[in-house]
């Protein structure tokens, strides 16, 4: 079907098709170039949410390292790395949940991969704690609060 349509197309159409293919391969080549250079700087996008606590007020923030001053971006990348974030289990909970504790949800997107972790405060891995603290202070400053339950 497709083949027959292709053969039915006029020379002009075929010309445009070739042009389009050439342009597309150029684009993807460029994307590859950018990707290759980004591997060194690892652009990260992080979504963060804290719920629960005595107050039960929800705090969220979204961070894009490309929008941060270079030294802050570097600090954040290092915290994600030191938390071994992409190898953490998706759910980190305590066998005996405690009342009024916080629950956190973090999603980190890096080129080509993403990972989401929900973690109860009482079960927080010590290596993840600095990242959560950094994100929470960002959420507190520009927090959207309890925008929707």
């Amino acid at each position: 079907m497709r083949c027959s349509l292709f053969y039915l197309a006029s020379m002009w159409h075929r010309f445009y098709l070739v042009l389009f293919l050439a342009f597309f391969s150029y684009l993807s080549y460029c994307a590859y170039c950018n990707g290759a250079s980004a591997v060194e700087t690892k652009n990260l996008r992080i979504y963060f949410e804290r719920t629960g606590g005595f107050a039960g007020i929800r705090f969220t923030t979204t961070i894009d390292t490309s929008e941060l001053p270079p030294e802050e971006a570097e600090k954040l990348r290092k915290m994600v790395e030191e938390a071994d974030f992409f190898n953490l289990p998706a759910k980190i909970t305590s066998p005996s949940p405690q009342p009024d504790r916080f629950q956190y949800k973090l999603r980190v997107e890096e080129e080509g991969r993403q990972h989401t972790v929900t973690v109860s405060e009482e079960a927080m891995p010590p290596k993840l704690s600095p990242l959560v603290k950094w994100l929470m202070s960002a959420a507190r400053k520009g927090g959207k609060g309890a925008d929707s339950p």
Binding site: F54, A55, G56, P97, P99, E122, R140, G145
Partner: protein, 367 residues
């Protein structure tokens, strides 16, 4: 210096007396047995009329209860508080660490968080003992342990299963959490609930758990201020927000959903009626949101009964929590239970029973 019973508290053998009942306690056969609650209540009434609270709660676990009391003789004499305040020095930790800075009978330390935790746990102990004849969290004189100055920028307070923990707040939104005495009453009541109804911390049982903590937290404050139901503000956590935040407190039992409305926090999301019940997976099914419904029911009942809320409405709720509610109890169970407790205590068709019934109808739990 850590108290001698420290390993016991930490080890968990002491931290929940229900565990000592063995396999049977959590068995549905046991706690759903209609005769259990009745027997329990009779035993407790007998004990509160008699010497104290060390009576067995149930005839077939006497030996174990007695043994338990004998093995761990850390309980203070009946009616005697045993408060210990530890300074975490912003170290955090699971469980928290710290140095003992004020023990029972010590003079004020001059550290506001330490002294507020001391006074708050004292006022909470007194409400439970003077009014409900309960000897501390476990009704066996368990020491009241608090950690203050927990972690850095910690905008929370919690009960970790055996002790209370308070943060100092943060630079932008929250003050220190010992500042509101009802927070202390709230946290300590999580301990009482753990030893009694043991309401599961999710969905409706979780919201009931939260509501019980708000109810008795507010009653601690009302009793300290000597306020009747119509004089009280019914605000939970008044003074916890920094002055820059637009809000009177964290929750309002009188008017759920109106405690705060601020660009940084959004609007107080609490419902006051079942038609606005919030279905969510966040916060264990919205336990701090939907608690607005039973909170408001308590307020309505107390307001209709009149006088000091801790005397009648508080007593009805306390007996329901202690003797009848169980881990999976929902709002409806709380409603029917408090109505029948009101009937038992004050008579069929009494003003009190009608007030409780009207309250649960008004919030849409009963039709």
């Amino acid at each position: 210096m850590l108290p001698v019973y420290w390993p016991l508290l930490k080890g968990g053998s002491y931290d929940n007396n229900k565990k000592s009942y063995g396999l049977f306690y959590n068995s549905p056969l046991f706690y759903h047995s209609p005769s259990y609650a009745g027997r329990d209540r009779q035993a407790r009434q007998a004990s509160s009329e008699g010497l104290g609270s060390a009576q067995p709660r149930c005839s077939w676990v006497c030996e174990r209860t007695a043994l338990h009391t004998w093995v761990f003789p850390s309980a203070a004499p009946v009616g005697q508080k045993n408060r210990n305040i530890y300074d975490n020095k912003n170290q955090g930790g699971e469980p928290p660490t710290g140095t003992l800075v004020r023990k029972e009978g010590d003079p004020a330390s001059g550290d506001a968080a330490v002294d507020e935790a001391y006074d708050g746990t004292g006022a909470t102990y007194d409400l439970y003992f003077d009014i409900y004849k309960r000897n501390s969290i476990d009704d066996k004189g368990m020491p009241l342990i608090s950690y203050v100055h927990y972690d850095v920028n910690f905008d929370n307070a919690f009960w970790d299963g055996s002790e209370m923990v308070y943060g100092d707040g943060d630079p932008d939104i929250f003050e220190r959490f010992t500042k509101a005495i009802d927070v202390t009453g709230h946290e300590l009541t999580h301990g009482v609930t753990q030893y009694e109804a043991n309401l599961a911390y999710s969905n409706q049982p979780g919201a009931l758990n939260e509501s019980m903590s708000d109810v008795f937290g507010s009653l601690v404050k009302q009793r300290v201020l000597n306020q009747t139901a119509d004089q009280a503000d019914w605000i939970i956590g008044a003074g916890l927000f920094k002055p820059t935040i637009n809000g009177v407190g964290i929750r309002s039992m009188k008017a759920p959903g109106t405690a705060y409305d601020d660009p940084l926090l959004g609007k107080d999301p609490q419902p006051a009626h079942m038609k606005d019940y919030v279905k969510t997976s966040r916060d264990n099914g919205g336990v701090h949101i939907n608690s607005g419904i039973p909170n408001h029911a308590f307020y309505l009942a107390a307001a209709e009964i009149g006088g000091y809320a801790w005397e009648k409405a508080g007593n009805i709720w306390y007996i329901a929590l202690r003797d009848y509610l169980r881990s999976k109890s929902n709002f409806k169970k709380a409603a029917t239970t408090t109505i029948s407790v009101a009937k038992e205590l004050y008579g069929e068709g009494s003003k009190e029973q009608k007030a409780v019934q009207n309250a649960w109808k008004a919030v849409g739990v009963l039709s």
